[in-house]
Symmetry: C2
Subunit: 465 residues, 2 copies
């Protein structure tokens, strides 16, 4: 096993599972992936054991055996692409699970704004942000698109921590100059823009090519942004080419509020479009109550969608019609939306995406159900497309980067209740097919099954056993 934190040339041997398409998982057994010191996959070889890897493949690559870390997955274990969380509020982590009977607008005022405001205390921000990065890595999240807070130093700290702990991340300073509490709002559109630029400059100074950590322009959502602010952020996007993230059409009262606040715009989606915020690099979280006209506009602009099923159920927002959105040809990924969503785990979002699609099906159309292949696609390749990194991450392929997790499932024999080994809540009896093993992981798996996590070839989390 590689020394934690130090990337180097490595070969990974065993079973690899990843999405071939929305509908299909590919199972590659007895295979090998060769990863260079920059974290790039330089070769994938089928039918390749350790002997062949060392004696045939390494010489072909011009690599010497002693320089290469050899990782061998045990029988039953498999490498899976790291999860991609396309929508998560780092600053809300301490509230995970705390939401009572609230819905969006009272949830913001009761739980969320006070917590976010409190993170201007950098000691607290350091504690919370360190923890959320460690936690999400432990759940297999190799890439996260984070909302921080309005605070520049705390937001910069989140970027610093992602870089040092090795998580691929998009860091968004929340822009919000309207309809927010006095203790937690940007004082003006101008200051909001200036503070956003300050965070962009900081990130450019620590990761100049945005190889691991990138800024993302983050108008919180239309109700908390003045038209002036949104116009200036739209212009900033045009100038910088940076991605944008925001919320849309999560809750019916929110949709009504936007209609009242922006009476001259044809719809919520048009509000963003008319401010230059709707484009191929825009991530729209939720999309629960969109009209067909709005969906068509999103498709036209090639904007992307972050589906947040756990959140939509927990704070009673509604059910996103994922099948419909997929059939419209829009790219969709998964978001935990923690702490609107109660869990920082994309595996939980995968599970909830499956269940929510069944709730949509209960309304009459069986075709809306998502298969396990489809929900895993959304959590990996789908997410990669949403954040514009589909050439690099979300699956295994030559030229892509090694963002991966090693999954191990407990066997009935090994996972002894009287012993020390706790391999989690999944029990493998031994007769299960690979498809059934994956199903068991989806429905009863948790962070105990994520044994090791790598980002860009660097080992960033390892379970102690």
């Amino acid at each position: 096993m590689a020394v934690k934190g130090i990337p180097g040339r490595a070969v990974y041997l065993g079973t690899f599972i990843h999405s071939k398409s929305l509908e299909e998982l590919e199972y590659l057994h007895n295979s090998a992936a060769f990863v260079d010191e920059k974290g790039a996959i330089v070769a994938i070889e089928l039918d390749c054991d350790q002997k062949k890897a060392e004696e045939v493949l390494l010489p072909k690559l011009g690599w010497k055996k002693g320089e290469v870390t050899v990782n061998v997955a045990k029988p039953g274990q498999f490498y899976f692409p790291g999860f991609i969380d396309t929508h998560i509020h780092a600053s809300q982590y301490p509230n995970a699970g705390i939401f009572g009977k609230s819905t969006l607008l009272d949830w913001l005022n009761t739980y969320t704004f006070p917590m976010e405001a409190s993170l201007s205390n950098l000691t607290k921000a350091n504690l919370v942000y360190s923890r959320v990065i460690q936690r999400t890595l432990s759940h297999g999240t190799t890439t996260a698109s984070y909302y921080a807070t309005i605070d520049v130093p705390a937001t910069n700290l989140l970027a610093d921590l992602c870089l040092s702990l090795g998580q691929r991340a998009f860091i968004g300073r929340c822009c919000m100059d309207t309809l927010s509490p006095d203790f937690y709002r940007d004082v003006s559109a101008a200051s909001s823009l200036a503070d956003t630029k300050a965070t962009i400059s900081h990130i450019a100074s620590i990761d100049p090519t945005y190889a691991l950590v990138s800024p993302i322009i983050t108008p919180r959502f239309a109700p908390s942004c003045s038209s002036e602010l949104m116009h200036s952020l739209g212009a900033l996007q045009k100038e910088t080419g940076l991605p944008i993230q925001t919320h849309i059409s999560e809750n019916k009262n929110e949709v009504k509020l936007v209609a009242e606040m922006f009476p001259d715009h044809a719809s919520y989606t048009h509000v963003y479009d008319n401010h230059g915020l709707l484009g191929p690099k825009t991530i729209l979280a939720h999309c629960v109550h969109l009209t067909e006209e709005e969906v068509d506009l999103i498709k036209l602009r090639e904007a992307k969608i972050s589906h947040c099923p756990a959140s939509n159920s927990a704070i009673t927002s509604g059910t996103a019609k994922v099948r419909w959105l997929l059939e419209k040809g829009i790219e969709i990924g998964l978001g935990t939306d923690m702490s609107g969503g109660y869990s920082p785990s994309i595996l939980e979002a995968v599970r909830q995406a499956s269940l929510v699609s069944r709730h949509v099906a209960m309304e009459g159309d069986e075709k809306t159900k998502l298969s396990m292949e489809e929900v895993l696609y959304l959590g990996t390749r789908g997410g990669a497309k949403v954040i514009g990194l589909e050439e690099k991450i979300g699956g295994f392929g030559v030229g892509m980067e090694w963002d991966a997790q090693l999954i191990g499932l407990g066997s009935v024999e090994e996972n002894d209740f009287n012993g020390q080994l706790d391999m989690g809540a999944v029990d493998i009896f031994g007769w299960e097919s690979w498809e059934e093993r994956v199903a068991k992981w989806i429905y009863n798996g948790d962070d105990r099954n994520t044994l090791s996590v790598w980002v860009k070839g660097r080992l960033v989390h390892e379970r102690k056993l």
Copy 2:
């Protein structure tokens, strides 16, 4: 800590949390529970530390200090009543999480009947049943109402294992003489009755007063039972006074099928009622698509309901209208319905009951949402009422029995990612109220938070840390 498996006099010190009513959790801090060698709670003392317990209370009880095991919950830990699973198929455990896109009737034929049939192999049955008992105990389930299979020796084995592993259980041999595959059905109503009686006799021989393990009469569901079989099981109930468990109105196609098979009965509920199967000791699982007339009949007969939210979502059965059923005055508990439900954990059922009630609310009525107090009630006191043991279990009180779990939540400080301690996915920062700690447990907790489990005073599970 008590020696595992050997009950004796014990005192438990610390925080106790249990349901005072459907709407209210009671938090008892610095308290003590005194449990005798039979597992009965003989005293509960508020404002009681170890010194007071030993110097004042023990002499009052006439107990000597050296004879009593003293258990002290650490700060932040709490005792909670053991969970009660009012509907679980022990024989389907190996299929947990495996259900594809199926719904009830094809799910039965594809996954369920073949697995159940295979457990006539006693070696396999021993493996599966031992495991499901250990697993459910590890999740805090102190009482389970089990469906086994049609096989008498395997069903008897499940009873033996519950007794030896110390889980309070109701053991049901599945009765099914109709519309089931040739390889898995009772050959006649008469043989089904005789086999049921054989299991009852066996359980009476190993636990004559049904102190821990009791038989439960189990017509699988109306579509798999002939009228003759249901009449004979109704008569058996009258004769023995034993409880009954069955399924009802889970899936729309099932409801249609019953209407076709039993055209002379006014409804699905009337089918059971007309066969003497609907009474105060009847547990009806699911109740998703009942008409108001049926609900009123259930109330009239004082039958009970097992709500199985994870199952209803997973196999797309529908959403049970729990608020409506509660307002009708019917007693309701939770069931995992594993493996229609993917998880053997009642904590997961608690979480899913909360989420499903929000899906019901999305249809328009906010009042249908269940609070965390309500879902925990359903998993403990509600379940106790459903199985007729509300005087004994489901909460803490003098005269009740010590069926309990010790819950510990990870703190950000202690639960070190670099160390060996894995206290689960909950992170307590230290500023949370007790209500917020419980919310965090509900939404991100798992078996790692269930540190110790007792049934009738006996330590039956302990997490290795």
